[in-house]
Chain length 423, copies 2
């Protein structure tokens, strides 16, 4: 499909915060042109959208989530991480089927679309049905292995790696494990062998709580970061999720290996896990992306809330109101997220890149006056400002409505049915 | 006007979190009936609204704001409180006219309406034009004196007290001062005499930063709370705004005098002022309400963001994921806010109370599944869920549109003009 979006402000994110006036052309799944108004635009467009001065920008990248956990939203709040996982989440997850994950991922995807999230890195139970769910809806999804000692064997991860990386243009699959505390050392060594066979990045929950780091120290006399480095798991880059409690030595390792940190501030606040040292990561030139985590610990999947928290909590942590400025946060939520997930074609708005684009409604009171749009996005933006969400050239959400192939009421009905069964 | 809202879920907030199925009738500015579906509802309604199972609840009360400061949104971020006030805000405010305040208050009011805020306690420069602005739009506004040694004389405050408390049903005026650090002791003593003449509650910014408390200790060898108690300023109740840095002795005074604390978590985070000890206030039975503060330090006027921050920051501060549960937060944002502002007729949904009501769209993905609606509101709610905002029986915002007497585009245009002049 050929779509022309004109009369727009455009923040390409090639340079964070820089905004041009002009237009953007989409052909099939790619950006054909982005720049100033063109005189020769009288082609046969299938759709021409007058942006009325509103803002086009790259979609937000949710660099860490567990989409299908939307079913646990507001079901088991106000507990610490280990009690929440062991007593509330794991027993219920044991009852979840692949079909449940298909349906619940659809609900999460609706929420992503309403908030301008155009890609998610999803670590959850049944990657096959999640992949199908996302492909059917049109959501871009980077599946991440959550291998652990209780679940499917390592051979399954390898099969998925081969299969799901060749399944659909919107879908990819990354190697990873759930966490140090859910894997034996033998399992981690096996994973390292697989990783070295494929020579690809690695993803893992790491250094989320003080207790997790302490228990790892007791088991191995080193931090989780140091342990994984020793096992060669960081040899080809990747990301750690959370990274709330890391040492200066940990940061040296992350820097050396090009490992990014995906911060999940709302989840870390709600579970009282702590505030990640974002200022330190930036100073050490460690790339930071942003994730929502799952809706059971957050409880919403809203990059606007996360963006404000990244800077607000950094300011509190450092007792410095200049800590982590808005432009850095916008980079984390878009470009860095994309790069950390291996979505090099989805980072910025540029000719030839994937057309993963959102339109931000500037004609709402929280965006006025139009003094500094980039800062408005981070400091006063809301998902209510998302006017349009396009993934790979397809408009999936526009003016409060989903595309015609998406039946939201039916998705809600099924999610509530599944909730009753798992409650 | 007589309006019937039927087929609703209703959270009256008489008991926080309790939800009934039924209907609600409005006559003129009041609630005529709230309860189960009625058989005899075939009266001549001017409007009947099918709520389609969505939630009716009391509007949010923004218990501390500076509405017209929307013009400074994203204009001078990332500074500490004193630099921000003295170098950026005060010089620009010196150029603001009463007419500017009228226009800019309109913009803030739009933002309140889109977020389900039905009343604001507004401390700002020209209460007369702010009162007119709110009355013209239909916003409920409790004006609060921001008396200080640089502004109008105390006699002006007294005149305003007499005049604005008899100006319009939506408007009231409270005695107060800006802060300890902007008042001489002599001025505070004069205020105390006026306060004792009228025997009414008192409002003030207090204990927002460590520096503020320290400077007060140096000047008077006591905390701001202890100083104001000694001066008799707390004799008739009222509120302190912020209350981030209070001692155990301060809390005893607040408790004894029935002073509520209005917390402004986003503003306190953004200015790196700290996290208020909400858990301590609750344990000591000190009433807590929630404010957005001004858009220059926040930068948005969104009670959903504030609600999540109240509980999220308390969990982090106490290292306890059970700290300050969602129902407490809902009470703060509605009932406590109303009571702290002297709006006893606007606290809950009940026959005879003012019809300050909002409808929350539950058919959006962030509210699904419908496991625990009250928790969903606090932990995953967004202003995008606000489907209708009614103040004193008048619908001012519905399905993304403002009432016909409100011209949003014109308000944006004027706000941008004023910005250019003050920049």
């Amino acid at each position: 499909m050929r779509i022309r979006l004109y009369n727009a402000r455009i923040m390409t994110m090639v340079t964070a915060g820089e905004i041009i006036r002009g237009e953007l052309w989409v052909e099939d799944d790619k950006i054909l042109y982005v720049g100033e108004q063109k005189a020769d635009n009288k082609e046969n467009w299938e759709r021409e959208i007058d942006c009325e001065g509103n803002l086009l920008m790259p979609g937000f990248k949710n660099a860490h989530g567990h989409s299908a956990m939307v079913v646990f939203r507001s079901l088991c709040d106000d507990l610490n991480l280990q009690d929440w996982l062991n007593n509330e989440i794991f027993p219920r997850e044991a009852k979840m089927t692949g079909e449940d994950c298909y349906e619940l991922t659809r609900l999460a995807n609706l929420e992503y679309l309403t908030g301008g999230i155009t890609a998610v890195a999803d670590m959850y139970l049944t990657p096959e049905t999640i992949a199908q769910s996302c492909a059917d809806m049109g959501m871009r999804c980077v599946l991440v292995s959550g291998l652990n000692k209780f679940g499917p064997a390592i051979s399954v991860m390898e099969e998925r790696f081969e299969k799901l990386n060749n399944f659909h243009p919107l879908i990819s699959f990354k190697l990873g494990v759930h966490a140090e505390y859910t894997c034996s050392k033998e399992l981690l060594e096996e994973v390292s062998r697989v990783l070295h066979k494929y020579q690809v990045p690695f993803y893992v929950h790491m250094s989320e709580t003080v207790a997790e780091v302490e228990e790892c120290r007791q088991r191995y006399q080193k931090t989780p970061v140091a342990l994984f480095e020793e096992l060669g798991l960081f040899d080809f880059g990747g990301s750690i999720y959370h990274g709330v409690h890391t040492t200066a030595e940990d940061m040296e390792i992350l820097k050396k290996r090009g490992i990014s940190v995906i911060t999940n501030p709302a989840s870390n606040a709600k579970l009282a896990s702590g505030v990640a040292p974002i200022t330190d990561y930036l100073q050490k030139d460690i790339m930071v992306g942003i994730g929502t985590d799952g809706a059971s610990s957050n409880n919403c999947l809203d990059m606007f809330r996360e963006m404000f928290l990244v800077t607000g909590l950094a300011k509190l942590r450092e007792k410095d109101p200049s800590a982590v400025d808005a432009l850095k946060v916008l980079e984390m939520a878009t470009v860095n997220g994309a790069l950390s997930m291996g979505l090099e074609q989805c980072d910025v708005l540029k000719e030839g890149k994937q057309a993963d684009i959102i339109m931000i409604d500037l004609k709402q009171p929280n965006m006025q006056p139009l003094n500094n749009i980039a800062k408005n996005l981070v400091y006063s933006g809301s998902k209510s400002n998302v006017k349009l969400t396009m993934i790979a050239g397809k408009i999936l959400y526009e003016n409060g409505k989903f595309a015609s192939h998406i039946d939201a009421e039916e998705i809600y009905r099924k999610a509530n049915e599944i909730l009753e069964r798992l409650r």
